[in-house]
Structure formats: C-alpha cells, structure tokens
C-alpha cells in the first residue's frame, strides 16, 4: 500500500464541501435553463438567427442547431419494428508498446447481427488485424493511441458496410457506440485527413444504400442544447463572445431532457454545430450532416437519457427515425437493469481484447519470429520491473 490515505482523506473532505456548494449553484442554473427551454421552445427561427450571428464571431462554436420540431417536443415510444436487420459494431484495440520484445498493435472488430423479425438466429463476426513492422509507423514516426483508435473506428464502419453490401432485407439499421462525429479527426496531418475522407466515403455508401445509421452515446456529458439556450440568454451585443460567456455552465443536456422526457420518449431532432460537423455537412451534398436527439430509455422516476447521433439522410426520413426509436427501445429493454442496447453489448463482447488475448498474440508473434530466424528484441528493464512488482502483488494477495 503506497497511497497516503491521510492526505487523500483530507482532500476528499474538502472536495465534498465544494461539491455541495457546486450542486446548490447548479440547481439554480438548472431552473434557469429549464425556464429558457420553455420560453424559447417555439422560437426556432430566432434561435437559428442567433446561431448564425454567433458563428460570424466564433466559427468554432459548438452547440445544437434548432430543427423543425419545438425544443420541448416529446415523441412517444413507437412499437418495436417486426422486420429488418440490426447490425451493431464495436471495436477494441491493443496499442503498440515499445517496451515489448516485439512491438505490435491489434485491432479487433466485433459485428453482431440481430434479425428484428426473429427469422434467423443472431450472427456474429469478428475481424482481427495485427499491426506489425511498417504498419506501426506513419510520416510522423511511431503511430500512437489516437491513430489506432481512428483506424479502429474506421474499420468498424467499413465492417458494417461490407456486411450489409448484399443484404436484401429492409430496414437495415446500424449502430455504433459513441458519436458519429470523430473527435480524433480535427488534426490536420495528411494521414488523419485521408482516414477521415475514408470515413466519409463509408458513410456516403451507407447513405446510398438507405441504411439507418446511428451512433449511441450512453450517459452523454454534452451540453449542446444548453449552449444553444445560452445564446438565447445573451444580449445581442454579447453574441460576439458566444462560447466564452457561459451563463449555464455545468448544466448538461442529459439533466434537462431527464426532466422533460417520459420513459420511451425522444426529444426533438437537433442539428450539430461544430468545426468537425461542418466537414460532414460539406460532404456528399449535405447528406452526411450530423443531427441528434435525446431518448429516455429509463423507467418512470428513473430517467436514463442517451444521445443518438444520426446523419442527415436519416434525420429527414420520419419513418427511419421512428424505426430507430423503436429499435433502440426494444434493444435497451432486453437487459432491464442495464438499459443499454443488447446488440452493442454483444458487439463489445465479441470485440474486446483482454490482457490475456494481448499476451497470447505477443507469444504467437515471438514464436513465429523465432521459427523464421528473425531477431527478437528485448523487453525494457522498466517493463520487467513492473512485472516483478505485479507478481509480488499477486503473491501477497493470496
């Protein structure tokens, strides 16, 4: 035991006091946000104008854009679809570690197909790719965690597209964990740009096939709608400081829609305004523009609000949005105490790379290197020292 618990306890006590004060402040701010939501619920053109004005001063502004539906819209749960195919994808990766004998990376994609009509058993597919030798380098040197994560996200979407290419059933729904917007994308180096273009091509192909594509964000921390409401609270002359003046800082959309939405209800559809979202908007004649809605997958008195990101071609298709709404509710009800889409749970289960998996692959690589007379490097002393510590911890735990 190497933690100074006396010191840690003192810090926790102090932080708890601060948290109490912060929560009191947030309660007041929440009431203000709630009132603003109600007041501006139908003033969509005014809000739209404010977004445009603010963008002139702050082009990197990040917030929701009002759509056609009132801000306080509540769409009740539709019936679950009885036909079609839901395909969920999730990815997992092991990052290269230069302390290893042979550095390598691993990307593992799990696909889970769920027949909404129950005509065939669910299907599983795993795609594994090991990164070795020159795969581990780009123009800037050894590839890092971010790049592998981007590759993983790209492969998830490619895998969905490949799997659906010959599928004839309708509707086709795809689900990935997390936003459709790629947070890793804004870097400007050519490799990232190339991968992002690949990603847009995959989305364009999904659009051409009419696939209902969605990104599922569990426990969203975003304040996109709150930021939109902040624009409503600013005076005209303060709009120049939009994004910097934050009268509702700390309030999340989840809190707001947790109060608004009843179980099973979805919110209005919003557009997503951000620098990255702008790049989606400019591609494929606007078909890839990002939209989102909030959905309460919880129970009465226990709201559980998630954000669902969808591209433009889905957002403008009312039937598609209704199908997606129904599918997500059906999926989250399969595990009543978890309220997370079953297909995503299974895709994750298929994709996950455990420490043991990583060790097994490392051993396979080392064996093959030795079989073929390739020189195997050495582990770093740091890694060995860590392993020594781990083995001594294990012994003491018995």
């Amino acid at each position: 035991m190497t933690i100074n618990f006396v010191e840690v306890h003192r810090q926790i006590q102090q932080a708890a006091g601060e948290a109490q004060r912060e929560q009191a402040r947030l309660r007041d701010e929440f009431n203000r946000a709630w009132e603003t939501l109600q007041t501006w619920a139908d003033r969509l053109p005014d809000l739209g104008r404010r977004v445009e004005q603010a963008l002139r001063y702050n082009p990197s502004l990040r917030c929701a854009r009002p759509g056609q539906e009132a801000l306080t819209t509540r769409v009740p749960a539709p019936p679950a679809p009885t036909q079609g195919l839901l395909l969920a994808a999730d990815g997992s990766n092991a990052n290269p570690n230069h302390h290893d004998r042979i550095p390598f990376g691993l990307i593992n994609i799990g696909l889970f197909g769920y027949d909404l009509g129950h005509h065939r058993p669910p299907q599983e597919l795993i795609q594994s790719e090991v990164l070795l030798n020159q795969d581990l380098y780009d123009d800037l040197g050894t590839i890092g965690e971010e790049r592998i994560a981007l590759e993983r996200d790209l492969r998830e979407r490619r895998a969905l597209l490949e799997r659906l290419r010959d599928e004839t059933v309708t509707p086709l729904v795809t689900l990935t964990d997390g936003p459709l917007e790629l947070y890793r994308q804004p870097r400007e180096d050519p490799e990232f740009h190339a991968r992002f273009q690949d990603y847009l091509r995959v989305l364009t192909a999904l659009a051409a096939q009419g696939v209902i594509t969605a990104g599922y964000v569990d426990k969203p921390q975003a304040d996109l709608v709150v930021r939109l409401l902040e624009l409503a609270l600013l005076d005209e002359d303060e709009l120049a400081q939009a994004g910097q003046l934050r009268p509702l800082r700390g309030i999340t959309d989840r809190a707001l829609f947790g109060q608004l939405l009843q179980p099973g209800e979805r919110s209005a559809l919003f557009g997503l305004q951000s620098t990255t979202a702008e790049r989606f908007r400019q591609a494929a004649q606007g078909q890839l523009e990002l939209h989102f809605f909030y959905l309460n997958v919880g129970l009465a008195g226990q709201p559980k609000v998630v954000r669902v990101e969808i591209p433009h071609w889905v957002a403008v298709d009312t039937t598609a949005v209704t199908i997606l709404h129904g599918v997500l509710l059906q999926q989250t009800q399969i595990t009543p105490n978890r309220r997370y889409p079953y297909a995503l749970i299974r895709a994750h289960e298929l994709a996950v790379v455990t420490y043991q998996d990583r060790q097994a692959v490392a051993a396979m690589i080392e064996q093959e290197w030795l079989n073929q007379g390739v020189v195997v490097g050495e582990e770093s002393e740091k890694q060995r020292a860590k392993q020594d510590l781990q083995s001594s911890s294990r012994r003491s735990a018995r």
Binding site: H118, I334, T335, N337, E349
Partner: protein
C-alpha cells in the same frame, strides 16, 4: 429431452478436455451444440494412435455469466436473444466424465487408465459397436469406477448407462445384457444396502426388462 438417438452411428467430436485426475476429467464444449452425450453415456478420449481412455458421462454443468443474469429477468424475451445465448455466446458447458477403462494397442481394460489424457484432448461419443465392445468386455469390471463416485447421482448415472448400453446390445442381437449387468450390480452392492436400494429404485424407473 432430446430427440437425438442416444448413440450416433459415427463418432462425434464433442469438446476438449479441460482438467483431469486419475479417476475423472472435465471436458469443455460449446453449449447448444447438437449430439451432446447424455448422462450415463459411454465416451472416449483418444490420446494417441495406440492409446485411448473410456469414460461415462456423470455430470453436465451449464454456466451463466453477467449478461445471462441480466437477460433472464427480461419480461419479454425475444426468440433471437434466447437463440443467441443458447448457441452463439461463449458460455461453456462442462461435461464431467468418470474414467472406466482404456484401450492400448487394441486391447481393452476395465482398470483405470495408466495416465489421464492431456489438456485439449478431444472427447468423442462412442458408436453402438464401440459401446457393445467395451461393455461386453470382461465381467463388468468398470462398474466399480461408477459405484465409487459417491459425489455424483450414482444411481441415476448407472440406470441411464444401463438403459443406453442395453439399447446398443439389443441392436446387436443381445436382449439380455442389462439383466446380467443388474445381477452384477447386486453382487457388487450386496454389502451396501442403501446404495443398492437406490440403484434398484432407479433401474425400476427405466424400461429395462430385468
């Protein structure tokens, strides 16, 4: 209950051995696969070209995990979710096998195998001909291995085994194998009245003509 025949005419690969000691082993296999050997059936684990170990299925355990525990409380389970958990998911089913003999260089023995198979050796079902050959060998010497397993539902395992083996013998033209087997059991258990009574009670619940 399965509609599959109790023994297949061709040997079927069922799973691979996880662990063993001198008297028994545990085999892991995927849940939901067809042709799982039923309780009491004769199985074999080939070790090499000259040596294989015979056993009787005495225990079958089906495991759950966190997700199945979540799914099971769902009020309206979709058929797809049921199929997924029964056939797709990597939930192992463990088969406990009591060793009852072995074969070395073509010669059968009802002694315990000299060494157990190793991890990942494959478990096969036995064909009716293999069942006839093993169970007709010697004088039911392998029964003592079954009767020693007091931590298993011994009487049920024995009754199930006799029923399945008799079906194979009847197919081979011997309607009396089970009767002789029952006599041998009575002899072996003559000093253990409690177990004898349980075994006879279980046998009475079979359709064997004893």
């Amino acid at each position: 209950m399965t509609d599959q025949p109790l023994t297949s005419s061709t040997p079927l690969e069922i799973g691979r051995m996880l662990r063993a000691d001198t008297t028994r082993c545990v085999v892991g296999c995927r849940a939901g696969q067809p042709h799982l050997p039923p309780l009491g059936s004769l199985v074999r684990l080939p070790v090499d070209d000259t040596y294989q170990v015979y056993g009787v299925v005495a225990d079958i355990q089906v495991f759950d995990d966190g997700l199945t525990r979540q799914v099971v409380i769902s009020p309206n389970l979709d058929p797809s979710v049921i199929l997924d958990n029964q056939y797709n998911r990597n939930l192992p089913l463990e088969i406990g096998v009591l060793f009852v003999g072995y074969e070395h260089n073509g010669r059968l023995s009802h002694l315990l195998p000299p060494r157990p198979p190793l991890v990942l050796h494959v478990l096969y079902t036995c064909t009716p001909a293999e069942v006839r050959r093993f169970t007709a060998h010697g004088r039911f010497g392998y029964f003592r291995h079954l009767l020693r397993a007091t931590d298993q539902p011994l009487a049920e395992v024995v009754a199930a085994h006799l029923q399945q083996a008799q079906a194979c013998h009847a197919q081979g033209g011997n309607p009396h194998w089970a009767r002789e087997a029952a006599r041998e059991l009575i002899t072996l258990l003559r000093d253990d009245y409690a177990t004898l009574a349980t075994v006879l009670s279980a046998l009475a619940d079979t359709e064997l003509d004893l």
